[in-house]
């Protein structure tokens, strides 16, 4: 029990330090959330025009307000998640890996904790900025209930962990490829479409919606966003179960690959 507490405490401290470091420059933090206000401003006008042109108030089970709040959450998540594969790639290329990998922590869990601290600050700022735009231009979310809030928070955290697993797998490729920016770019683009960032999966043709829902990427964006806009606790529990299962699978693959990579890693220098 003591060991577990020490383990959690160590990585929590890393997350807290990075959280504090991210909030130290408040002007910079606010400046970075300008982007989501512009994106949401554009999306409000685009979707209003689209709903107006269609003549329907509900499309694929979503009202205009549902769609816009859905986009607030997906944009928030995509702009707040950490691209830690790039950090691993940078460490491999500039050689600082030789120092970071020898420290008394698990290299992967360290990066996850580090990223979490940063992501939490961005999540709050981006959601506040994006939400404010939609709140002013369109109004509050229609179906969100306080009872679904705990499910939403857990789902967002699980979404970040699942994303960490994919980022970690891409990051480990840096041990072979050095530069993983193109892999990272492709992963992000998969999230844009199959994750449901640009357009809710409910709007997809049936075959693409089925494909997207069978793959784990929708659990990073579409899952939490649906809990937020639909407030359906039964469906929310289903999302949490699927997220947990996929985390087990992906984390298993990640740590197996990590320990295999460590066996073959040799660092030269002095």
């Amino acid at each position: 029990m003591k060991g577990v507490r020490a383990f959690v405490g160590k990585y929590l401290a890393i997350a807290v330090i990075n959280f504090q470091s991210s909030t130290a420059y408040s002007g910079e933090v606010v400046m970075r959330s300008i982007m989501i206000t512009v994106i949401l401003y554009v999306l409000v006008h685009l979707w209003k025009a689209a709903y107006g042109a269609s003549g329907s108030t509900v499309i694929a089970g979503l009202t205009i307000r549902d769609t816009l709040w859905y986009l607030v959450l997906t944009e928030t998540l995509i702009l707040s998640k950490s691209a830690f594969s790039t950090r691993i790639s940078d460490e491999v290329r500039d050689g600082s890996l030789a120092y970071t990998i020898l420290r008394p922590y698990n290299y992967i869990v360290y990066h996850m904790s580090y990223s979490l601290g940063d992501s939490l600050v961005k999540l709050v700022m981006n959601f506040a900025a994006g939400g404010l735009v939609v709140l002013i231009l369109e109004g509050p979310p229609e179906h969100f209930t306080l009872s679904s809030l705990p499910f939403l928070i857990v789902s967002i955290l699980l979404a970040l962990v699942l994303d960490f697993c994919f980022e970690g797998l891409i990051g480990l490729c840096a041990f072979v490829l050095e530069d993983v920016s193109s892999l990272q770019l492709i992963y992000n683009k998969i999230l844009f479409i199959l994750g449901g960032m640009l357009i809710p999966i409910d709007f997809f043709p049936r075959w693409l919606a089925a494909l997207s829902k069978a793959l784990p990427f929708n659990l990073i964006l579409y899952g939490p966003a649906t809990i937020f806009v639909k407030g359906d606790i039964g469906a929310a529990a289903g999302v949490l179960v699927m997220q947990s299962l996929w985390i087990l699978v992906m984390a298993g693959i990640l740590f197996a690959l990590y320990s295999r990579t460590m066996k073959y890693l040799s660092i030269n220098g002095g």
């Binding site: 910079e28 400046m31 970075r32 300008i34 982007m35 512009v38 994106i39 401003y41 554009v42 006008h45 685009l46 209003k48 025009a49 689209a50 042109a53 269609s54 499309i59 694929a60 530069d179 920016s181 193109s182 770019l185 492709i186 683009k189 844009f192 479409i193 640009l198 357009i199 709007f203 997809f204 043709p205 693409l208």
Partner: protein, 267 residues
Amino acid sequence: MFLKRLISEMRFITELWKMNLASALEYRANFITQSIGMLINDAIFFVFWVLFFDCFKSIKGWGLQDMVLLFSIITTGFGVGMALFGNSMKVAEIIAQGRLDYYLVLPRNVLIHILASRSMISAYGDIFFGVLSFFFFTGPVTAEKTAIWLIASLLSGTVLVCAASLFGCLSFFIGNATTLAGQATNAMMILSVYPDTIFQGGVRFLMYTLFPAALIGALPYRAVRSLDWQSLVLLACGALFFAILLTAVFNAGLRRYESGSALNVNM
């Protein structure tokens, strides 16, 4: 005298461009990976619009083909602009870090030298996507349409390079403006890739003036769609205006610039 100087500067820029291309091609695998990565990036937005118009058919007079044409102009303009003047996105950073010193001691036009000193490798992917989408997905292609598309794309790229550099010049006046300039440029790009008809009032006015997103997207699109040479002339005037404004603001800023005596190695 002026003509002689102009020819000399043109020769110099051409040499810089040749060197940038040779340097990009030296790491061929990286060049191909980055270009293909950008091509996929652009194609994803194409997929988004396919899915979007599968649901909604048209928005305020814009359909899928219109969006592809708009995108082909912007990606080609952005690609050419960033391949030739790749440092336009980094002006704020260069000023803030005191890296202007290197350019100031050389007997060349400082602004042009800075902008043309770097080529964005992934921009070649944008050019490839732009050309491909124009010829295969924007309806019948005629000689006139191609000529207008090419000129409109180049002018769109000119406005983008000038506006991005102008945002970067803020570093002369307010200190380190790297984040602000980056955010302003990205915001302008976001506004430019959507139909301008969905915006009204002040935002639409800004898009045609201070924040020239419409000169990068909507106006060149209209020139090509309607084969309208008048819009093209208007766009050329806009591009010229932003080029003059950039030169004036940069020169005014240069007078305020103080060297940090930082040691830099340009590679």
